[in-house]
């Protein structure tokens, strides 16, 4: 894609993450390395429990690696960094704030004056198609609308990188599709770097510029696939041969890893 440059935005270097526990320590990630270029849309797929969320938490600075390091624009990530905006599956909206106030939150933290942040928030609320809902509390919105608020909130804060952890998993298939299309539009317009986690291979193919398949726990990179499907990725593309080929390829490698982890679970 034309927005891709050759600058490395995020560099994950030999990261290992161990969770200490009373019984036995859990090694979630083992010596994982991955570079994400500026403007890439990387989708990570992998079996449940393979360490995807853990990896994203490390990038956002919520947690620190047991070994190895993560560089953002060449600087090691130490604490929580607002430069990596996170979008959670459970939306994580502030229930006591209206849509408007939720979207303004990041700007308020930057101590931007009221008038200015109102204006900016309004722009992003409009962008995600929620004009008219500014005064609503999250409680009154449907799942899809909540996730749109959460996207607007993140965008309003203008992060360089957006991290999404199965953002659409809780939505029904149809709402999900609408949001996927909106996300692609935003990505194309704002030239963000995106790391996106999903369980759905279709979703991965629909959105990504590159797909990363992780192994079963402890998570490492199993395979990387550059997604060269043409845009827009409409129904025609989804029924094309290249799509089928890519899907089969990913299917096979994910399948093997899933079997490993399911066997582990049931035995």
């Amino acid at each position: 894609m034309d927005t891709l440059t050759n600058k490395i935005k995020i560099s994950i270097q030999g990261v290992t993450k161990v969770f200490p526990s009373k019984r036995a320590d859990v090694m979630a990630l083992k010596n994982l390395s991955l570079d994400v270029m500026d403007g890439e849309f990387v989708v990570i797929v992998g079996a449940s429990g393979c360490g995807k969320t853990t990896l994203l938490n490390l990038v956002a600075g919520f947690d620190s690696a047991s070994q190895g390091q993560i560089l953002l624009d060449g600087q090691p990530v130490i604490g929580i960094t607002p430069e990596c905006g996170m979008i959670f599956q459970q939306y994580a909206l502030f229930p006591w704030k209206t849509v408007q106030d939720n979207v303004e939150f990041g700007l308020k933290m930057k101590r931007i004056p009221k008038a200015e942040r109102q204006e900016q928030a309004a722009r992003f609320i409009d962008m995600v198609g929620l004009k008219g809902f500014e005064k609503s509390f999250p409680h009154h919105l449907s799942g899809g609308m909540k996730q749109r608020v959460s996207i607007a909130r993140s965008l309003a804060n203008d992060p360089k990188v957006i991290l999404l952890d199965e953002p659409f998993a809780a939505l029904d298939a149809m709402t999900r599709q609408v949001l996927q299309e909106q996300l692609v539009r935003i990505y194309e317009k704002h030239q963000k770097t995106i790391i996106f986690i999903t369980h759905s291979i279709d979703e991965a193919l629909l959105l990504s510029t590159r797909i990363v398949v992780m192994t079963a726990r402890p998570g490492r990179i199993l395979q990387e696939i550059v997604n060269d499907l043409p845009h827009p990725r409409n129904a025609d593309v989804q029924l094309s041969d290249r799509y089928m080929e890519l899907k089969r390829m990913i299917w096979v490698s994910v399948q093997a890893e899933v079997m490993k982890s399911i066997e582990e679970e049931t035995v």
Partner: protein, 253 residues
Amino acid sequence: MNTKNSSNLALISIVSLVFFLAAWEIYCRMGFIEPLFMPAPSKILSRAIKMLNNWSLLGHTLASTRRVMVGFIVSSLVAIPFGIFLGSSRFFMAVFDPFISLLRPLPSMSWIPLSLLWLGITETQKYSIVFMGSFVPSLLYIIEATKNIDPLLIRAARNLGASEVDVMREVILPGALPQIIAGLKVMLGIAWTCVISAELVAAREGLGFMIMNGKEYFQTDTVLLGMVMISVTVMITDLVFRKFEKRLLPWTL
């Protein structure tokens, strides 16, 4: 539940109450029970009218209400900031934990002897009983409320650039508010318990005094009237509190 159904249920409740009162009245009139042990509802009503006329019923009720309110408000004002602080600091929680554990099981009543020694028979002593009785439980509620905040929301706030202090003000306080208020509602009930205790032992007014004094003069109707007044007053405070709660928590509507 639709409207018709719920008004039906209210009707059942009213019929049931009326029926009970009528049965009680008749039972008493038939002389099955000594008025000393259980006076008829009509006796209680006439006592109420008598005490309303000389303003003493209102006086007792207001005295108790004032004590509850002062003790409760002071204890909330201390417990809320302190509870939020303890709930968000594991170190200070550990420091204060042994004292909280020791104070928690102590009924407000058990403070009466000590408070009498320290403060004498003053209004402050009454307030202190309400304070001691409601402070520790309130504190525990508030600590709990603070700890129960979804850590995801804290993460989200930090991720959007909030500092530790911002998180405290913007996330922990409003996030814990519904539970804090629910806790305070319970505490208000406990505060009433405390005040009645305090008044039973050394007081010259208040509903607790009224029922204790009624007992001294074998006026069982006064005792029962006092109890009814406690019920009614608590119910009214509760109602007022609930109105207030809706105001404070618009997002939960």
